[in-house]
Amino acid sequence: MSESNGSGMGGGGKCPFATRRGFLAAAGGLIAAVGAGPNAEAATDTKTVAAAKPETIVEPFWGRHQGGIVTQAQKHTYFAAFDLTAKNRAEIVELLKTWTAAAAQMTQGKPARPIGSDLSVPAGDSADALDLSPARLTVTFGFGAGLFVKDGQDRYGLAAHRPAALVDMPRFNGDQLAQNLTGGDLSVQACADDPQVAFHAVRQLARLAYDVAQLRYTQTGFLPNSPEGTTSRNLMGFKDGTQTPPEKPTADNPLSRDDVVWVEAEGGDWMRDGSYLVFRRIRMALEHWDRTVVDFQEQVIGRRKYSGAPLGAEHEFDPLDLDATDKEGNPVIPDTAHVRLAAAASNDGAQIFRRGYAYNDGTNVTAERWPPWRQGLEYDAGLLFLSYQKDPRTGFIKIYENMAKLDMLNQYTTHVGSGLFACPGGPAEGEFIGQRLFEKA
């Protein structure tokens, strides 16, 4: 969306608050009053941003692929799934146009819509990101099965275009999925280095969807400020993400990240250059984990806790030796260790690209599912698992089928939410997200 279009949406006439910068200038002295630093000012529009190393705070929105998939992970995410209440396909198209325009604006550090000057009406943007950097915001859209078919109904005449890979997720062993954390017709993954920027983005989009789509669930996530060049630790204290598809094939891994992530011709025109997102909300029994001796934690994961090295190796990036045995023939990396079961070598070469975050939703009363069956107030914290792949049937579903049954880590984790979304290829400037699907339909 161009800036002039944005002005036009403000209710007609030239709006002084069409951008955050415009609003700040009009407010006069607000920057000083709120104590915002140079970054805040830099964020007010892209021109100023450009002077302040835009590559550090602005991620591209338009392009072959959607942002937020292979984009270097931002520190925070706000994930949302929506149920469509639209009466017809035209309303969905309109929503996607509006969302695309708003997301493009917000990734540039601008309000979702012009804020407007008329104080007697709701503003075009909630303004909670006004003085903030774009913080590398990306907004990634996905289509759930419910867009195509819901309860057996082809609500929007799109059933024939449902991709074969957009399957109904099978039930996995141990699943304790809550319906209010599962499914969804549309998904929005907002990621940014500032949690308020990420939330702001979803909040604006949800607001723009009133009467067409309603929130089904949301989930925040965060990453630690790990030192540059190191692998982040998850809430279990282990390095998480050592094994990830490389940017280019290596001697150890014949598949590049692009090979793993992007849909090619098999996805049809509208899914080409897109990817499939698997969302799982995985609660960790952290109290149980904290009572577990470290050497057993290492057996569960299959890696040393502090160095990240595979069992039987010395360094984090040493290869997994799944064939190594002790003198009695027992495997050095246990049969049911997490890394063994997740490894491509254990799954006919299957790989996925994980882009997960930790989550922490405070505490609530729960009953652990494993001995000693502890019950009481426990952390509702764990992993917001987000993974991208070109086909979930040969990605997450294939890999997790076996892990769900055998992984020792299952004694400490419970999957309580789940979703699968087809994320179309990125929009060219002037297009809206998923446009090629709707043109075809």
């Binding site: 001796v293 049969d335 000693p372 055998l406 020792m408």
Partner: protein, 378 residues
């Protein structure tokens, strides 16, 4: 699940050696065991959890191949105890696991419904008999008396046994199988077991009810027809049983019939192994019988089986060990940590239920209740 066991198993073995003088003389079975290999998940498509009984098929019949390992599940997919309805079969030759039977949750003739327990056997005639100790919410607050269910070799229910002498068939069965006749020994652990929330103020735990029995059931098995009960006799009674919030209930669990017609019973709550003489012939109850061994390496003894050298293996409920006992003299020879899962304290606590020897006698199968797997130790 093997490598992590190694360290602990070694430590446990050395601890056992200090307490069992015979070990140094090489007269035990457990000293020959070196490795534990996870064979399969016991979870079928419907998500049932908590594997309990293990039975090695004595014959090929219907869906079952000789030497298949049948495993039943006590919990449903929500992990509620007393609600599991499935039996899976692991084929050691193909290494494949398939669903053998999925019983209806509600079954006419089975009071309280179906929640498959540690009581299971397959007869040479191909019939499978399995116990139900049911609940609707995973606790004894909703428990029913249950029954014994008879299935054909295709997993189809053909009948039930229920009545005043049957109340939560609980422990693994001891069986004398003569083909056209058979004798089953089944422990009953449900008589007057209250809601788990009823607490004995003296102990702070649910009360121990000394009403558990061992029922002997004599079957006639006419050619091509399901087994018929010819007679039943309570040959032992007065064992302790107790409701438990976490493990549903605790009662006599392991049964093994010896060549001298002595029936051995693991008395879980009293932490001992008892013996009942003349088990196939007795016409009255021997009460709790004679004590064979108590305490020592035992930590809530549960399932029990024979080794080829005439010793008993007993799994511990309060740690992940199996204990080898010479029943002739009551000596405890070794304890081996077969489930050293340190997700529990002590390792493997609450994890072991079923145990069965491999057909060749070179090792034994056991279930790891906490991770729903079948493991072989050799």
């Amino acid at each position: 699940m093997a490598a992590f066991i190694r360290t602990i198993a070694a430590a446990a073995l050395s601890a056992a050696l200090t307490s069992g003088a015979l070990a140094a003389d090489g007269q035990g079975f457990l000293e020959t065991i070196k490795r534990h290999t996870t064979l399969t998940s016991a979870v079928p498509e419907n998500g049932d959890q908590n594997p309990y009984a293990i039975v090695v098929a004595p014959v090929s019949a219907g869906l079952i191949h000789k030497d298949d390992v049948l495993i039943d599940n006590f919990n449903n997919d929500a992990n509620l105890q007393g609600t599991g309805t499935t039996i899976v079969a692991y084929n050691p030759a193909t290494k494949k696991t398939s669903l053998f039977a999925q019983l209806p949750r509600d079954l006419a003739g089975c009071p309280g419904g179906v929640g498959l327990s540690t009581a299971m056997t397959m007869l040479k005639s191909g019939w499978v008999i399995v116990g139900s100790a049911p609940s609707t919410d995973g606790t004894t607050a909703t428990k029913g008396a249950g029954c014994l269910v008879v299935l054909d070799s295709n997993g189809k229910v053909v009948g039930t046994l229920a009545g005043p002498t049957i109340n939560d068939p609980w422990g693994n069965m001891a069986v004398v199988d003569n083909g056209t006749t058979a004798i089953l020994f089944v422990s009953m652990a449900g008589f007057d077991v209250p809601d788990y929330r009823k607490i004995d103020p003296a102990t702070g735990k649910p009360p121990i009810i000394a009403k558990a029995t061992v029922l002997r059931i004599e079957l006639a098995i006419p050619e091509g027809q399901p087994p018929k009960m010819v007679s039943q006799t309570v040959i032992a009674d007065g064992f302790g049983q107790r409701a438990d919030k976490d493990v549903f209930m605790i009662g006599p669990t392991g049964l093994a019939i010896g060549p001298d017609d002595t029936l051995y019973i693991s008395d879980a709550l009293a932490n001992r192994v008892m013996a009942i003489p003349n088990a196939t012939k007795a016409t009255t109850s021997a009460g709790i019988g004679r004590e064979v061994t108590k305490d020592g390496l035992l930590q809530r003894p549960l399932a029990m089986c024979w080794t080829p050298n005439g010793h008993l293996l007993v799994t511990n409920g309060l740690n992940g060990q199996v204990v080898e006992i010479d029943p002739a003299n009551g000596k405890q020879l070794y304890a081996r940590w077969i489930d050293a899962n340190k997700a529990q304290t002590p390792p493997g606590s609450g994890d072991l239920f079923g145990i069965a020897m491999t057909p060749s006698g070179d090792g034994f199968y056991f279930v790891q209740d906490e991770v729903n797997t079948l493991v072989v130790a050799r």
